[in-house]
Amino acid sequence: MSEMHWKDLKQTDFGMLKSLADQWDAYINDMVAQAEILTADVVKKHLSAENYESETADDVRHQADLLADSIQDDLHEYAMVKIRATLEDTHVELVECQAQLMDLIEVVTGEYRFEGSSQEPYVVVSNGHYERIAELDVSAALMERAGVKESDLVTDFGANESRGRLIEAAEAVAGELTEVLKAIMTRAHHADDEAAAILRSIVDTPAEQPPPLGATYDDLIDDYETANAERNVAFLQELASGESEATATGVNDWWDSLSDEEQAALIDSNPELIGGLDGIPADVRSPVNYDLLTTEVEENGARIEEIQAQLDQMLADGSSSSQAEEYRDLQMELGELQERQANATSLQEALDAGSGSGEDLFLLDFDTAADGQAAVSVGNPDDADHTAVYVPGTTSDLEGVSGLISDAAILQADAATWAPDDKTAVVMWLDYDAPDNAMPIKQEGPLYPEAYTTEQALDSRSGLNSFLEGMEASHDGESHTTLMGHSYGTVATGATAAEYQIAADQIIDFASPGLLVDTADELSVGGDNVWSTRADGDVINLAVTTGAMGADPTATEFGGNTFDADAIGDGGSAIHGGYLSANGNDPNTARETMALIITGQTAGLR
């Protein structure tokens, strides 16, 4: 348990944690390089079958491969995920706590002082402050807090009475400062204890290492390989559960460290964990997800038929009344399955229809429950020169996924037109619960529209950030990524970019009610890399004027870049949904500009 005293928090140079994390990082890279020497120089070069062929040679090559694999697995599971990441995360937390403590110390210096143990720190009024109160030499703030006026000090009685009130006020301030100090120390202790727990957990269940070559090798190697496969599954389950410290980058490093056989075994045994895991390459996730979707459609269909027959039978033989509870449960299960099946078939049909442009579609994630969620890429994002992640807004769901994929296909085709020598992929990211409505709906009473609240945008942040990080991690070489949104989707993009240092170079928002910030500089891509547009007559202008979703991103004061959009459609709602539509015989200005931004041709646009 952390016994860190506030003096320790104040005096310790936690930069050593960051410095050590960097050293572990460098060590991991150097050790991976040594492991690669085993496969490249030993197995493939000096011990190639051309130079050495026999049963022993097979064992030796196999052992060298195993050693290279096992040390890389170890490096990722222990050195990177448990040790390096913990050092880095703890550094961030403790440095922030230290900064808060220093701010508090600056506030209290001269008037209050810290006392107490590491677990029970508190703040008291300093002797000097008591003396100044006795002399009535105090700040205006304390006078105001105590309700003391200059006129109260004119008489001896008034002065004495004021001293009492000033002492009371100062001690009340000390009590409040104690709460602040305790909160800071609690946070620091929590970070310290959590880090210690993770580091200690490293010894809990150490994985087997390969056996040494020798007489018992053949007997031991099978056990080792079985244990190793189980270890991979356990680690995958930990990653997918969200309990792991690994980021999407860590997932990608781990996945790359696995042999082809190990990857295939994991896909075979746990496809549902692989399909949705950020950091796994798109060309792995997509076929896995498509197979899962196909299976779900088949299994749902069979179960729906089964339940329907059961309900029909119960209705016919009267047991729907005598076993009313079972009948109702079956009806509820049927309703849920039918909803899932509608979503699943809608997604499957959209994928089977293709992009319309010849670009392959990649199913990067999906969930058919409730409104349904999915991430579908037009083109492979892992080898694209440019990638855009498009977040659609209110009313988006799997029922309408075909139209959403078409929107992404339009953006992708535009980019291909304006940068024909580059490869561009556009991901339709609906891996969040988009609002169902933007207008009040009267049923039994007026319903507050979901689109008027920030809750769903805030809920999307972690997933969107992880997705972007995973895409960057699995990309071949440097990536150039645009995060873009339409309508409420821009609220999600803004919320995410305000909360995280996102793995994207720029943001495009169109038809935005706001990005939950007051200025473009509050977004982690930097104000110069934020591009906004809104067409005249767009109904969203009504929401913008409320300021409920932050400042108007197209306003000069916002500080980002703006570009023109044609008002396409009749009426505010049609214009709001018309940004990607054809503009009669005229070019669609917004689409052209967005294609140029996505493909990095922004020089002439600023």
């Binding site: 320790d8 050590l20 030993v42 913990t86 204890d193 040494p212």
Partner: protein, 124 residues
């Protein structure tokens, strides 16, 4: 996989593989030693600051440096020694221990290695 009756070998290439393996073993040990020293220094400073992470970091570092990294380099060394005997004997080797390396391998090619490791080996 090779058939039971197949045996071809370029002994010089196998020796080169052994040298690479011993090189990896030495380099990985050197890097791990350096990291362990640095980590201990930080762990001590944090423990002195009453941070729970101090002792835990020491535990994790010991686990990594002694159990995992040293385990890895020992296996790499074992593989190298096994191969060195294979290169010298030019036959299939089933049974193997450190004594075999010390007595059968071309130790002139790996000076000091047998003596360096012998005392630490239970099978010597």
């Amino acid at each position: 996989m090779s058939g039971a009756d197949v045996f071809t070998m370029e002994p010089e290439k196998v020796h080169e593989a052994v040298e690479v393996l011993f090189g990896v073993e030495a380099e990985a040990d050197r890097m791990t030693d350096g990291l362990r020293t640095e980590t201990e220094s930080v762990a001590t400073a944090l423990a002195n600051a009453q941070c729970a992470i101090g002792d835990a970091l020491m535990t994790a570092s010991d686990f990594w440096c002694v159990q995992r990294a040293l385990g890895f380099t020992s296996l790499v060394g074992n593989l190298g020694e096994y191969l060195a005997v294979c290169a010298e004997q030019a036959v299939e080797i089933d049974d193997f221990n450190a004594h075999d390396f010390a007595t059968l391998a071309d130790l002139d090619r790996y000076p000091g290695r047998a003596a360096e490791n012998a005392s630490a080996r239970p099978d010597w």
